[in-house]
Assembly symmetry: C2
Homo-oligomer: 358 residues x 2
């Protein structure tokens, strides 16, 4: 194994005097480098003081694919890390039209009224195509966006879910280091994105609509299992009866699932985000949850397990992409898949053939 | 990429005359090799004629970890492949005590009475520890084991689930090539083994017990979603009322799940394997299923997708084990996991550190 010397940005930041043997040109370059370094130090300092512009710039560095930006991002994340982890991270999912933006607007404003600092992030791997289908249009949260104690950031775009996930997770750390104590992470649930958001949050909230008889139809497999709460939105006006019926139905369905590792029993709540009704109930429930799982130690345990999961996930994703992105493997894979379709090879013989090429 | 010359056993089987330049010793070695080759040809021929001893020997070669055995196994699998795939593969799962052996005894005997040839395999990654907890004791199927048209094989042991899965999937091919047209694959459901068995079968059957109020409690997440049928066993004597209630409960629960890709609506059946009651109903249901999915093309499509899944699975498992089994990575991984527990690094920085070592 050859050990690459991948220096972290941090290792450069010591204030060594320049050697006398260094040429004036080099010296200038080095000074400029150090100056840039100091500007990251300033950025970090501002960020830790809760400056939203610095936070935004830090996240922009995380989202950049440029190596120099990535090194700066690493420096800032390392500096932010000891100050992070004081928040509760809440995942919010639901089909388009369920009122996620309205819910976050109402819920976020309520929390700010209670003295909280609220960051809203999104995980939307499709946003490269649809140009930011969620949170892209901040006008949908027109009150929240004006609040001093709110920070809203659309999904990083132009990336695979794995890339979006990494960037979002690192952004969470910066938000927390900047003093945001409630992190809302929204997803529309494209592909595996609910699972992704579930694996980076402490509490997972599924938004549903009242009405429409067969309540569980159309929900992707496994989503209900992941939910810590199902919140039925638009439970107002003529919808109220249907919403109450949906609540009963969901409560019955939830009882059929085995207990969660957290020992938390998922709850079903009604709300009308448009009329700010039922919002405080949702927060009270989450507070009860947080107290319970912090006391039991599950909260801390779960975050550690999530971090370990992401370590393995990152390594495995990289190993796979390195293998499958190789041109020779790509060609051979096509051939082997064709042989499989024609029943002319087994999955294992085909795999062996590919691995022998690598 | 350096292309390793990993010759398949097949490439050696051509009857080339020996070169005159070959030394007598080498010539003898080569002749012996060819002789062994011919003995595999005989084994394959016997296997294709339905000889159970040859089938058993073929599976023993698949289960062996010796390179020479693996080459022989490859030759036999390649020869068997064109003759396989005429069966229906049925996965059977359920908690210990639900009566899996009794059910298979009754169900298998019924099928043999209908002129079927029945192979019973097992997937039990724990069998290395518990020394064959399922099917290890053939006396639990004392009638079936005596049948000419039944073949019963315990789980390959001493292996990871991945290893057991590969061996079982290859064994299925040999069973099918030997003329077995119903393949029953039993699992106790340790870890991920139900998912594994689900991904190698056409029909997935969950055995349950009657009685005990909260019917879905204790079933692992996702198992009910995978089931094409829930069969409530021991629905006899005093259990009958409870069994009927359980059937209602399960039917209600199944309606809450979104439709399957196969368009098959999972059914709930009652049976008493001990008294051979309800067994024909189960088979009729599976026949209806098979006709339906063969007609729609899902049957063939699903098998192809399963094969492709196993190709990727095998490659990915290998890539991971090659990485994580490396001593240097093992040590570094421990260190990084500790840093994660102490909140001193991020999952992504830790992953990068490990990948830089490789």
């Amino acid at each position: 194994m050859n050990k690459k010397q991948s220096k972290s940005a941090l290792s450069e930041s010591e204030n060594k005097p320049l050697s006398k043997n260094v040429s004036p040109v080099s010296a200038k370059r080095i000074r400029n480098f150090r100056k840039n370094k100091f500007s990251e130090e300033d950025l970090l300092k501002d960020l830790l003081n809760g400056n939203k512009t610095a936070l935004g710039r830090g996240i922009t560095l995380i989202e950049s694919n440029q190596t120099s930006h990535q090194q700066k991002a690493e420096y800032i994340i390392e500096g932010a890390l000891p100050h992070a982890h004081k928040s509760i991270r809440i995942g919010i999912t639901g089909v388009p039209g369920v009122g996620k933006s309205t819910f976050i607007e109402s819920f976020g404003s309520y929390l700010i009224g209670k003295g909280k600092k609220v960051a809203v992030l999104a995980v939307d791997p499709s946003s490269s195509v649809s140009r930011g289908s969620i949170l892209g249009d901040k006008t949908r949260m027109e009150n929240l966006v004006k609040e001093k104690n709110a920070f809203i950031r659309p999904s990083p775009s132009g990336e695979s879910l794995g890339g979006v996930a990494r960037k979002t997770r690192e952004s969470i750390i910066l938000c927390e280091a900047a003093g945001f104590d409630v992190i809302l992470i929204e997803t529309v649930g494209v592909g595996q994105s609910e699972t992704t958001v579930h694996s980076m949050t402490d509490f997972f909230l599924l938004l549903k609509l009242a009405g429409a008889g067969d309540e569980l139809q159309g929900i992707k497999r496994g989503i209900v299992e992941m939910a810590d709460a199902i919140v039925i939105n638009k439970a107002d006006g003529e919808n109220q009866k249907a919403a109450r019926e949906a609540k009963l139905e969901f409560n019955r369905a939830l009882q059929l699932y085995p207990p969660k590792e957290s020992n938390w029993k998922p709850e079903v709540k009604l709300c009308s985000a448009l009329y700010d009704q039922g919002i405080s109930d949702v927060w009270e429930m989450i507070t009860v949850f947080e107290n319970k799982v912090r006391k039991s130690g599950f909260f801390q345990h779960n975050r550690q397990e999530q971090n370990k999961f992401w370590l393995y996930q990152t390594v495995n994703d990289y190993l796979k992409s390195r293998f499958y992105d190789h041109p020779e493997i790509k060609t051979a894979l096509k051939e082997q898949l064709k042989l499989i379709e024609e029943n002319r090879t087994t999955a294992f013989a085909a795999a062996k053939h590919l691995l022998d090429l690598a």
